[in-house]
Assembly symmetry: C2
């Protein structure tokens, strides 16, 4: 009872995990299913965008030089020789002094190099157009390839596709795209005190929170979570469940059973698998000291604390970096009070955010360790590095959003 843990630094632990986890495979998916998926490699444009010179306004296509010097007082005269139809190449060319009606997005007729907005024109009879303003060559026109050139890199590897990115791929005619396959993640809650959520807890019992919160956290990052039945603090039972999850999953998240308690036998069970390699047992991290990780061949098991708040916090700071390819957008916020922190340990402190006068302010949600309600009141968290001795109230801190 009470063997103290040899702890590893947070930074080193994340490095080891990144190295240990198997790479995500690639798979092809249709464009309609690609939202939120990460690209498996660089993506190049197969075409020029736009594919033809097009007007960006409703107005008249013309030769810019014919409009030079035009003004309200002295308009330039053009002969209107036709209309550009949407969706068709014009079947005429423009000569000197000629113009053609063109809608936004219409294809510029050969011979024209600019478009004049309809607001600066007036129609005189059937085929004469007065221009009250000059345009310069290329004005109100998007040239072929001006937006995107054929062969240009569109997105880097692992870029997570957003609606506008999918729109861009659609415009290029890409019906399918090669993306990273989601990880299969097994989730096992353990502990004699843990009961299914539909049961009424007897004295000393708690409901199984981690199966639900961890599965939701995994799914939110676009991976596939599978929940396994609850296991008690019994070695044979735990080993059988872990073996099952190892077979089916790239990553297994095991919660509970990793603290210095009576039932601390999880590590023995994990290390009893052939080829098991201990990555770490114990982290210099608050909350989440009893976190551990074991690699078994190309499969990874991360043991999270049993307490739901610590388990989810450690998911965010230890597991999420392995699973999340999307670009983080931390907020910078003014800290509303001092936070003390022990040097040599990475602290993760939940905060609630408030917006005032063009700035965010962050209130640390302190209080007894493990209040279930804290994370639900939190908008994000602050990371206080191991070299820091806390943060002063009034300073600007970086808040990672939940």
């Amino acid at each position: 009872m009470g063997e103290f843990l040899k702890v590893m630094s947070y930074e080193e632990a994340v490095l080891r995990l990144r190295k240990a986890i198997a790479s995500q495979q690639a798979e092809e998916c249709t464009l309609g299913e690609s939202s939120g998926r990460a690209l498996s490699g660089l993506l190049y444009s197969p075409e020029d965008v736009p594919a033809f010179d097009r007007s960006t306004v409703d107005g008249y296509a013309l030769r810019a030089m014919d409009s030079f010097g035009a003004s309200e007082a002295l308009p330039a005269f053009f002969q209107c020789v036709g209309s550009v139809l949407m969706g068709a190449g014009p079947d005429f060319e423009l000569g000197s002094g000629e113009c053609a009606w063109i809608p936004t997005g219409g294809m510029l007729p050969t011979g024209s190099d600019a478009a004049l907005m309809v607001e600066y024109t007036e129609k005189l009879g059937d085929d004469t157009v007065l221009a009250y303003r000059p345009v310069s060559p290329g004005e109100n026109v998007m040239l072929t390839g001006e937006d995107i050139r054929c062969g240009q890199v569109l997105f880097p590897e692992r870029h997570v596709l957003r609606p506008q990115d999918i729109g861009l791929l659609a415009s290029l005619g890409l019906k399918t795209v090669s993306v990273l396959k989601p990880y299969q993640v097994g989730i096992i809650s353990s502990g004699d005190e843990v009961i299914p959520i539909e049961s009424q807890p007897q004295p000393g019992q708690v409901r199984d929170v981690n199966s639900f919160s961890l599965a939701a956290a995994v799914a939110r990052l676009g991976h596939n979570a599978s929940n396994y039945p609850l296991v008690g603090d019994e070695a044979r039972q735990l080993k059988a469940m872990v073996a099952k999850s190892l077979q089916d999953n790239d990553l297994t998240l095991l919660s509970g059973g990793s603290s210095v308690g009576i039932a601390d036998f999880t590590l023995d069970v994990l290390l009893s698998f052939p080829d098991a390699e201990l990555l770490f047992h114990g982290l210099a991290v608050k909350p989440g000291k009893p976190t551990l990780a074991v690699k078994i061949n190309d499969r990874l098991i991360i043991g999270l604390p049993g307490h739901p708040v610590s388990a989810l916090m450690m998911f965010h700071v230890v597991v999420q970096p392995l699973l999340d390819n999307s670009k983080p957008y931390p907020l910078f916020a003014r800290l509303l009070q001092n936070i003390a922190s022990q040097p040599g340990r990475d602290d993760f402190v939940p905060v609630s955010l408030q917006e005032e006068a063009g700035q965010w302010s962050a209130r640390p949600l302190l209080g007894k360790s493990g209040l279930m309600g804290i994370l639900s009141r939190a908008d994000g968290y602050i990371h206080i590095g191991a070299v820091e001795q806390g943060l002063a109230g009034g300073s600007i801190c970086r808040v990672a959003l939940f």
Copy 2:
């Protein structure tokens, strides 16, 4: 050709849309399916959390007063009368001078009011424990209901459930939860120039981007998007497709056909439905002036610009406020250059963000209107209100993330 639009202010348009859209219905879903869903009403806690006084450390449960005065030099002596097991109520009580081993999360035995961490104790023989430090009553203990009280409001109406919220509901034994039903959203792309993405565009033709980008944008907000076949600029065909979508959907997003072009007949088609009510036709907004909205009974149709960049931008600023219940977390960023803007018009300017020294800086992505690549390079956008005449470089601006 060229009838100018009577435009409505952005603010007024959003107000009218909010008033016009049907309320979301409520439905029951299981906790495992509730991630990202919005609550249909206030949610109250049915229980106290924790349900029993529990230790927050590994150590010994005892009466705090028996430890008063204990120190390294003069430890207090306790008789250890048992061990608390996880998941079971202790079957003994503690008297004066007695203690019991308790693991983190264990239930405090009757008679004890604090827990002393194992690190400050030493075991002497089988049943004597030395305490090298005093604890005060309640120290290292979480009291019944200290986290959450029975009857307390857990979340407000429309709160979008995150993993930690789902964990909280699991701890309370809530197997199902009442959430808002997603909207059914129909998406119709129109325009003679628009072709399916698998086709090779002929001169003047463009691929159907909006069906893909709008469907992804709707789905990302948790609603159900249905795409309808492309329609050309032909009144009967458009009316038939809109009629179909009206039947199946709460909201129809129609893109294309709403600009002052040759084929501007969309509005006539929409107003030809019985009970059609025009909400607005034309907005004082850039980009997206030709946006329109019509209410037909309890169904809403929003006509977005045909150009993909304007269509998606208007989705974000006009449609998203109707569909998104989640809390926005805008960033505040230093603007890297001036942005000019016309008073009397709301401008939405895409920006790319860069993090430097504890601050975000925002670079406006200007350039010709409608460059497809702009939104893909953008992290978010800035809203310049109708009363502003632009923003000065160096000023702090509010960036809504895409």
